[in-house]
């Protein structure tokens, strides 16, 4: 080792400087495509909100003890998190390693796969925290009453968003082609999006579907947001937070493992 190694500061695992460096890249890039990204991440869920709110809302007035606009206006946060978390993570990760070779460039600098994945997911998580609130704000125009608990919603959306971002990176890390995303989307994400208690409560479903719903991170996000807005329920909500934290940790490690397999030969 000798003089050479002694001259430089020692580097550790998962360093803030490396994570920040990758996020700077994302932020500079975002300044050129924020319009389209913001549009797709917020308009889609807002359309769902309005369609269900007017269409379904004219048939039912209350669901599970809430006005329908209250029910769907809070549940929709989870949908937005999924749309602005998992999907951008899947596509942008795949494009960046497969077509733009961005990750090749980054990993030749003092950044490891773990830091790269963490930075990408944190940045997407910050976006989901913001975008997640947009349809809720729209719902306020249509009768959802403001409450102090709503201030917790960006943090819930960011936590769930980190899980979905890393889950999306994990899917991209496994994918052999971008076409294989359809299996994940149609086979897993779409059913999860519907069986989450966003548009209708789970207790109307058959028992097996209710049980499966308990393992759906979107369901826990939906419940947590509703309770934050209309009143927290103690240990029940601690359970929801714990589930989302567990989901985020598991997806994070899976994403790192599969991206390492993909990027380091």
């Amino acid at each position: 080792m000798g003089r050479v190694a002694a001259a430089a500061p020692r580097l550790h695992r998962l360093e803030v400087a490396a994570v920040r460096g990758v996020m700077v890249r994302e932020i500079i890039n975002f300044s050129s495509f924020w319009r389209s990204s913001t549009f797709s991440s917020t308009v889609d869920p807002t359309i769902y909100l309005l369609a269900f709110g007017f269409g379904f809302g004219s048939l039912v007035s209350t669901v599970a003890g809430y006005d329908y606009i209250e029910f769907v206006g809070t549940g929709i946060v989870a949908t937005t998190v999924l749309f602005s978390g998992a999907f951008p993570a899947m596509y942008s990760t795949f494009v960046k390693y497969q077509f733009q070779r961005t990750y090749d460039a980054i990993l030749a600098a003092p950044v490891d796969t773990e830091e790269l994945v963490t930075a990408e997911a944190l940045w997407i998580s910050a976006r989901t925290g913001t975008y997640g609130c947009v349809p809720m704000l729209v719902a306020m125009v249509f009768g959802l009453d403001p409450s102090w608990g709503m201030l917790l919603v960006p943090f819930i959306a960011a936590l769930a968003g980190f899980g979905w971002a890393t889950f999306g990176i994990f899917i991209a890390g496994r994918a052999k082609s971008i076409e294989s995303f359809s299996y994940w989307q149609s086979g897993l994400l779409t059913p999860m999006f519907l069986v989450a208690g966003t548009f209708f409560p789970l207790d109307g479903l058959p028992q097996w579907a209710q049980t499966l719903g308990q393992f759906n991170p979107l369901y826990h996000c939906v419940e947590l947001v509703r309770h934050a807005v209309f009143g927290l329920e103690g240990w029940v909500d601690v359970g929801h937070v714990a589930f989302l934290v567990g989901f985020a940790l598991l997806s994070w490690r899976l994403a790192i493992r599969f991206m390492e397999r993909r990027l380091i030969l």
């Binding site: 080792m1 000798g2 003089r3 050479v4 190694a5 430089a8 020692r10 580097l11 400087a17 490396a18 920040r20 460096g21 990758v22 700077v24 890249r25 500079i28 890039n29 050129s32 495509f33 733009q100 070779r101 961005t102 090749d104 460039a105 980054i106 990993l107 030749a108 600098a109 003092p110 950044v111 490891d112 990027l263 380091i264 030969l265």
Partner: protein
């Protein structure tokens, strides 16, 4: 003893092996890059050059052998090594939607240039690449030569002591290539250690203090270009032009004398004849690194 040796070597590889399934891309490679030297890694496509370059940044993990970069043992201390070197990839991986300056700014962060000197580092890189005027141009508006200069500038932001160049001039026209050679030569004279993979013989002959010729994942010859030429190709070659049958005849004559030959399209070069091939009625020419390369690898370049 190991300490003193390593301190003088920017790169040290011993017995490095890398397999991809049934293919052995690097097969027991030894390689030294002394501090301050420019070393060329020369070989035909598929010789294992790019795999070797990737192993130096731990983007390829060797199956066997030892790799040390700037005294850091890889892959364990690879992040440390990457912090102290610059890498110019073979395939352009600039952010095309960003400007020249934005590309540099991102890497000033990735290379942890301190906030106070970031601006200065970017200005210096722009001037090295002669791109100060194009700082606000989007990368996809730049020419191929400019993009390659930007890739080099990007690798120099943090003033690395070691630069890896993977096929730095591939696909560029001759004039742009000359420009890049001048740039690389300047870095070398400033004391930056350089490892450059290339399959342009002329590039290696002009820029490199030493070359390692690779074939099928192994080093088949190591040394300064002049010495390799003298050792393997002899001082001069006789180049005979003629009809295909004449060329076959010359090859036959050479074989009976035990001289080496090399077919180059419309001619045959007879090597190591020590002046005895004069009656073949060919043109006498000085030998070059390409002769060595073809003799050792059995493969024509490009």
């Amino acid at each position: 003893m190991g300490v003193t040796v390593n301190a003088e070597l920017a790169i040290r590889l011993r017995g490095v092996v890398k397999r991809f399934g049934a293919l052995t891309a690097v097969d027991g490679l030894d390689l030294d890059v002394p501090m301050g030297a420019c070393v060329g890694l020369l070989g035909p496509n598929g010789a294992g050059k790019s795999t070797t370059m990737k192993a130096l940044t731990a983007q390829v993990i060797a199956d066997e052998g030892e790799i040390e970069v700037l005294g850091h043992s890889l892959p364990d201390a690879s992040k440390q090594a990457r912090a102290e070197m610059g890498v110019v990839p073979q395939l352009d991986n600039l952010d095309v939607s960003l400007t020249t300056e934005q590309n540099l700014r991102v890497f000033a962060h990735l290379y942890r240039v301190p906030a106070g000197s970031r601006k200065e580092a970017i200005e210096r890189a722009l001037s090295i690449a002669n791109l100060t005027e194009r700082r606000d141009s989007k990368v996809d508006e730049l020419s191929g030569g400019m993009r390659r200069r930007l890739l080099i500038a990007r690798a120099l932001l943090h003033r690395p002591r070691l630069l890896l160049l993977d096929e730095p001039t591939v696909g560029l026209d001759p004039q742009v290539r000359q420009e890049l050679w001048a740039l690389i030569d300047r870095l070398r004279s400033e004391g930056v250690s350089i490892l450059m993979s290339t399959h342009y013989i002329e590039e290696a002959e002009r820029l490199c203090d030493q070359v390692t010729i690779m074939s099928h994942g192994k080093a088949v010859a190591v040394g300064p270009p002049r010495r390799l030429i003298a050792e393997h190709a002899g001082p001069e070659a006789v180049e005979v032009y003629g009809s295909p049958s004449r060329l076959r005849e010359v090859e036959e004559i050479a074989r009976t004398h035990g001289w080496r030959t090399r077919r180059t399209g419309t001619s045959v070069s007879v090597l190591r004849a020590n002046g005895a091939a004069a009656d073949l009625e060919g043109e006498l020419r000085v030998t070059n690194l390409e002769d060595v390369f073809v003799l050792l690898t059995g493969e024509e370049i490009s």
